[in-house]
């Protein structure tokens, strides 16, 4: 039974209660023998199987993971498996870019009648995993310096992507004056209580018409100020006007969809923008604000090159999984868990972040490799189909982690699989929370 080296893989199977668990029971009542390497965890539905759980199993030393539930159309709860299918699709894209060994992550539909299929699937996975050997690629088993110290490789492999785009042209001083005039008018008329805008040294909160000169508009206005709409200290100031660029404005669409803001409670000042010299600006197609209440300036730049939007993802996918994992290990080893990425993100508005929940501790709080992988996977998954690509996380990260690449990975999946780009079309249905009977499932056995 055992491999030549005596290695016996540990296989963790997350299964739904109504189909695959009963399929496994049927294998038992039919006395269909299979290797004892599998541990079955029963959950009500595949819809309940959170991707964090899979990560936890890998952290715990699983050599392969199986997730299995009812065939499409058979879900005991109508649609749990459809929701799960969508989530797995995105999750797989993410793990693939991270360089996980995809030969160890399996998805199947096994019905209550398919005892024999259960037997075959478990036997096959066990054999295959035995041949692959222990899953040491993932850092959980890597020999990390658990006692701490400065960790991390000094040099990370280049991602092979073009450098940041130059600002197309310096933002016009005219626009700055127009913005100040507008802010003066809004504050003077009492339409808004505060104008959230850019200042010379960071965001400013102008509450008096006399202070509008503090507002600036220049090539340094990179921040996405909509993130302040979630902060209770800012909310306490009263109705805000927020200065946005076309790209930032997309987050307002998502925030409104997710009931975080009511559009009528926010005055939106849209700035035409030719680029702030950031990487994202190269593929920008939102130079002009589209939904703003007030608009300032006119963009001179042409639309972005959407083809280039996901070039960085394609570049990393051209590398081998081992190279990808090495790259991300080096990136995440620099993570301090300062949570600048989370705090700066307009979409991270939870009152209590999952990372701060300790019953149970789904994500290790420690900034070691394991905890950092878990955190960045969870964050990317939470932003799947929601991230508008403002790249604030990347800008804020003091450790220079290439976070935008994670977000781009899932944005690319959302666009290619579901034709969805977060924050572009207020009428579009977000991919998470919905499903289609036509969703692809070639990765599911």
């Amino acid at each position: 039974m055992s491999g030549s080296n005596g290695f016996e893989p540990k296989i963790v199977a997350f299964v739904c209660n109504w189909c695959t668990y009963l399929g496994a029971d049927l294998a038992g009542t039919s006395r269909l023998e299979y290797p004892p390497n599998v541990r079955i965890l029963r959950l009500p539905c595949t819809g309940r199987i959170d991707t964090n759980l899979v990560v936890k199993a890998v952290e715990g030393g699983a050599d392969a993971v199986l997730v299995s539930g009812c065939h499409p159309g058979d879900c005991h709860y109508n649609a749990g498996n459809y929701h799960a299918r969508r989530r797995w699709m995105l999750f797989r894209e993410l793990l693939d870019v991270l360089g996980f060994d995809m030969r160890r992550i399996h998805f199947t539909w096994i019905s209550a009648a398919e005892g024999r299929k259960f037997q075959h699937v478990i036997s096959e996975i066990t054999e295959q995993t035995r041949a692959l050997g222990p899953w040491r690629a993932y850092e959980a088993k890597a020999e990390i310096d658990h006692r701490g110290g400065l960790v991390g490789q000094a040099v990370s492999p280049a991602t092979g992507r073009a450098g940041p785009a130059p600002a197309l042209q310096a933002p016009a001083p005219l626009a700055e004056q127009e913005l100040r005039d507008l802010a003066r008018r809004l504050l003077g008329a009492g339409d808004v209580k505060v104008v959230i805008g850019y200042g010379a040294a960071g965001p400013v909160f102008v509450t008096k018409a006399a202070d509008v000169e503090r507002l600036v508009w220049n090539e340094g206005c990179q921040a996405n100020l909509t993130t302040y709409l979630k902060r209770k200290e800012v909310r306490a100031l009263g109705k805000p006007a927020v200065v946005v660029k076309g790209c930032d404005e997309r987050s307002l669409v998502v925030l409104e969809k997710e009931s975080q803001i009511r559009r009528e409670d926010v005055r939106v000042i849209g700035m035409a923008c030719d680029g702030m010299g950031q990487e994202k600006c190269a593929a920008c197609d939102t130079h002009e604000p589209r939904f703003a209440d007030e608009r300032v300036g006119k963009a001179g730049g042409q639309g972005g090159k959407p083809a280039a939007r996901y070039a960085a993802v394609e570049a990393i996918l051209a590398k081998t999984p081992e190279e990808r994992l090495a790259f991300w290990s080096a990136e995440f080893d620099r993570c301090l868990k300062c949570y600048a990425c989370r705090q700066v993100c307009p979409m991270c508005y939870c009152e209590r972040c999952i990372a701060d929940k300790n019953r149970p501790q789904a994500i290790d709080t420690s900034p070691h490799r394991k905890g950092n992988f878990a955190w960045h996977i969870a964050r990317a998954m939470h932003l799947a189909g929601r991230c508008v690509g403002c790249d604030e996380c990347t800008r804020a990260c003091p450790a220079g982690i290439d976070l935008r690449l994670l977000n781009l990975t899932l944005a690319r999946a959302a666009e290619t699989q579901f034709g969805y780009r977060a924050g572009m079309d207020p009428a579009a249905e977000p991919p998470i929370g919905a499903y289609s009977l036509q969703d692809k499932e070639e990765f599911i056995r």
Partner: protein, 666 residues
């Protein structure tokens, strides 16, 4: 520290043969939190259960793990035993070491090791299991039936006869549905109206049935046992209380040439009309699109004529509210609109048959009216174009059914039978006439059904051709039907006077909107989804909402009636207690940490998420949050997965329990 008892079952030899149960019990005894671990030959037998009860008491156990068979086999058994000893039953877990261990492995060492691992996960989980109590939901013992056709009438009468009040909502001016317009019914050829109208009257006069005709469901809120339905009573312009149903208004109305809906355009009716003489309620309604008084403030003769003064041109739509505990949907069907409808959007289905272009190409329901004794021709078969008695009729089956290219892929089920019936009725009326039938297959499963078709062919001499019709043209007042007889392998051309198309059955108009209001599902063709095609054929996935009749799938009268009675009995079962008891293993949301993104609401298959506003004592809004409706949640836990902050959790499988299990594997 927990006080967990572990009980390892031998299941006779079933487990003990492959798993060293002594070793398992010994290993369990060393696990953190385990107070005692024992094994026994048959845990499920009385002595085994007694052992569990005894240990719960003597060791003051606060949780129990039974390592034996599948929880699908005996979880309830052991939970009952635990409850009998005073332990909350949800503090008991099972470790499946039989179906998923001893029965599928042979190597005793490895099977034993695996069994220990399986128990370890169960022990890890049970430490966190919450003590739960069943959820009780108050039950309003009053039902609403939507749709007053034969299925709806049957369901309403059954429920009302059982002693519960029923609200019956029908959007047409009278109940009766399609069946009221049929001539005679297969396979007995008894008169449709003769059997239906007494039931209609019974429903109309039943002390516990409240009839809303010419009314539609506006909205529904609430959940099982506690629905609140808003019903729109459409403007009738006739005061139902004052009207005596004398019919004088219909006689005096000068605008008499309006196509009758009830006759599917085969006959005419005035602007104020009762759809048919036996209508229930026997009250007319004014067609506001036609009536001269309403359209241009003229006429008004009926108002003057009406002795009781029941005509009220100032009438307006009214909204009524009804509280009910269960809803039965029986909205029935319509026919596929030949030549117009394109559900698959591939082609305009069957435009080549000239329906709508040639007056003498009609559909099956129109034919029913033409041969019905109560029809526009008083039962004398006259063709629409010139009123001549057709000497030859061609019946074409499967128009729109079983056709992936031009129509719908499914079989409409009843067309074979009523086409055979049509040929018989025709031959009975026109003895010299020729009945030709083009069919694909004859599907006559049912009591007396095949005999009936055989009778049509063999006794009444209907000519059956197994083949499709490619085209129908009109020449010199005759219809030329070109088809094929694939059994003979020859093309067939029939010159005929009348063509009857057996169009496919489709769900009634607006059923998708209704389904949305009720949070129930439709299939891709708009038929309402039952909860399980075999085991829960009348339930839907929204608790408290049931389906019956042709709104769920094409079916004939006996099946519709049977299903209606089944739905009624389900309603009555739910009414058998004043409270509904539900499993407590459902989702809950921590409103303190909920960020009110409502991802759960978008995802929940049961629409069980509600939005709540948390307010301070002075009424100030503190925050918004999601809340689980305990009457609707089924406990799938999909909300937990999509909740970014994990404020949602599912009882029975809480995050703590599940992570404890995963960590126990490490």
């Amino acid at each position: 520290m927990s006080r967990i008892g572990v009980f390892v079952c031998w299941c006779g030899e079933n487990i003990a043969r492959t798993v060293d149960v002594d070793q398992v019990a010994e290993a369990c005894g060393e696990m953190p939190g385990v107070r005692c671990a024992q094994n026994y030959k048959y845990m499920c037998a009385d002595p085994g259960q007694a052992m569990i009860r005894e240990k719960i008491a003597s060791e003051r156990l606060d949780a129990v793990v039974v390592a034996s068979c599948s929880p699908h086999m005996h979880l309830k058994t052991f939970r009952r035993a635990a409850a009998a000893a005073g332990l909350n039953p949800y503090r008991l877990e099972m470790a499946n070491i039989r179906e998923q261990c001893s029965w599928v492995h042979h190597d005793k060492d490895r099977a034993t090791e695996k069994a220990i691992g399986i128990v370890r996960t169960a022990v890890a989980k049970v430490r966190y299991n919450h003590a739960l109590s069943p959820i009780r939901v108050p039950m309003t013992r009053r039902a609403m039936v939507i749709g007053g056709g034969v299925a709806g009438i049957q369901a309403a009468l059954d429920i009302a006869d059982a002693g519960y009040e029923v609200v019956l909502v029908e959007r047409e001016p009278s109940i009766g549905g399609k069946m009221a317009g049929l001539s005679e019914t297969f396979p007995t050829l008894d008169c449709s109206q003769c059997i239906l109208t007494p039931r209609m009257v019974e429903a109309g006069q039943h002390p516990r049935i409240k009839l809303y005709t010419y009314s539609e469901l506006e909205s529904v809120s609430g959940f099982v046992g506690n629905f609140e339905a808003t019903i729109r009573k459409k403007t009738r312009y006739v005061d139902m209380a004052k009207c005596t149903g004398c019919g004088e208004c219909q006689k005096i109305c000068p605008l008499k040439r309006n196509p009758s809906e009830f006759d599917f355009g085969m006959g005419m009716r005035p602007a104020i009309f009762m759809p048919f003489p036996q209508a229930v309620p026997a009250r007319p309604v004014i067609d506001k699109k036609v009536c001269a008084k309403i359209v241009r403030n003229g006429c008004g003769l009926c108002e003057k004529k009406c002795a009781p003064g029941a005509i009220n041109f100032k009438d307006q739509d009214e909204l009524a509210t009804e509280r009910v505990g269960a809803i039965v949907v029986a909205t029935g069907y319509k026919l596929y609109s030949i030549g117009r409808e394109q559900p698959s959007a591939k082609t305009t289905g069957y435009g080549e048959y000239g329906y709508g272009k040639y007056k003498d190409v009609i559909d099956s329901l129109q034919f029913e009216r033409l041969i019905s004794a109560s029809g526009p021709t008083n039962g004398e078969l006259k063709r629409p174009s010139d009123g001549k008695i057709p000497q030859s009729v061609v019946f074409i089956a499967c128009v729109g059914s079983r056709d992936n290219a031009k129509g719908l892929p499914y079989c409409s089920k009843i067309c074979c039978m009523y086409t055979a019936k049509h040929t018989m009725l025709y031959k009975h009326k026109v003895h010299s006439g020729e009945a030709h039938v083009f069919y694909m297959d004859i599907r006559a499963g049912g009591k007396g059904y095949d005999e009936f078709v055989r009778r049509a062919i063999e006794k009444d001499g209907a000519k059956y051709y197994r083949g499709r019709v490619s085209k129908i043209t009109e020449e010199n007042g005759k219809l030329i039907v070109r088809g094929a007889d694939t059994l003979a392998g020859v093309p067939v051309t029939v010159e005929t006077d009348l063509v009857v198309l057996a169009s496919a059955m489709r769900p009634a108009d607006g059923v998708e909107r209704l389904a949305q209001k009720l949070n129930i599902g439709c299939d891709e063709f708009g038929f309402l989804m039952e909860s399980h095609p075999k085991l829960r054929p009348v339930e839907t996935n929204t608790a408290g909402v049931y389906v019956c009749g042709a709104c769920q799938a094409p079916k004939d009268i006996p099946e519709s009636v049977a299903q209606a009675s089944a739905a009624a009995s389900k309603v009555m079962i739910s009414f058998s207690a004043s409270e509904l008891t539900r499993e407590p293993e459902i989702a809950r949301i921590d409103e303190q940490t909920c960020a009110a993104c409502f991802a759960c609401e978008r995802t929940c298959p049961y629409h069980a998420i509600e939005r709540v506003e948390l307010r301070a004592r002075n009424g100030d809004l503190i925050k918004r949050a999601a809340r689980v409706n305990q009457g609707l949640c089924m406990g799938c836990g999909t909300c937990v997965s999509v909740c970014p902050s994990k404020s949602a959790d599912s009882e029975g499988f809480t995050e703590e329990e599940v992570y404890a299990m995963v960590e126990a594997l490490a």
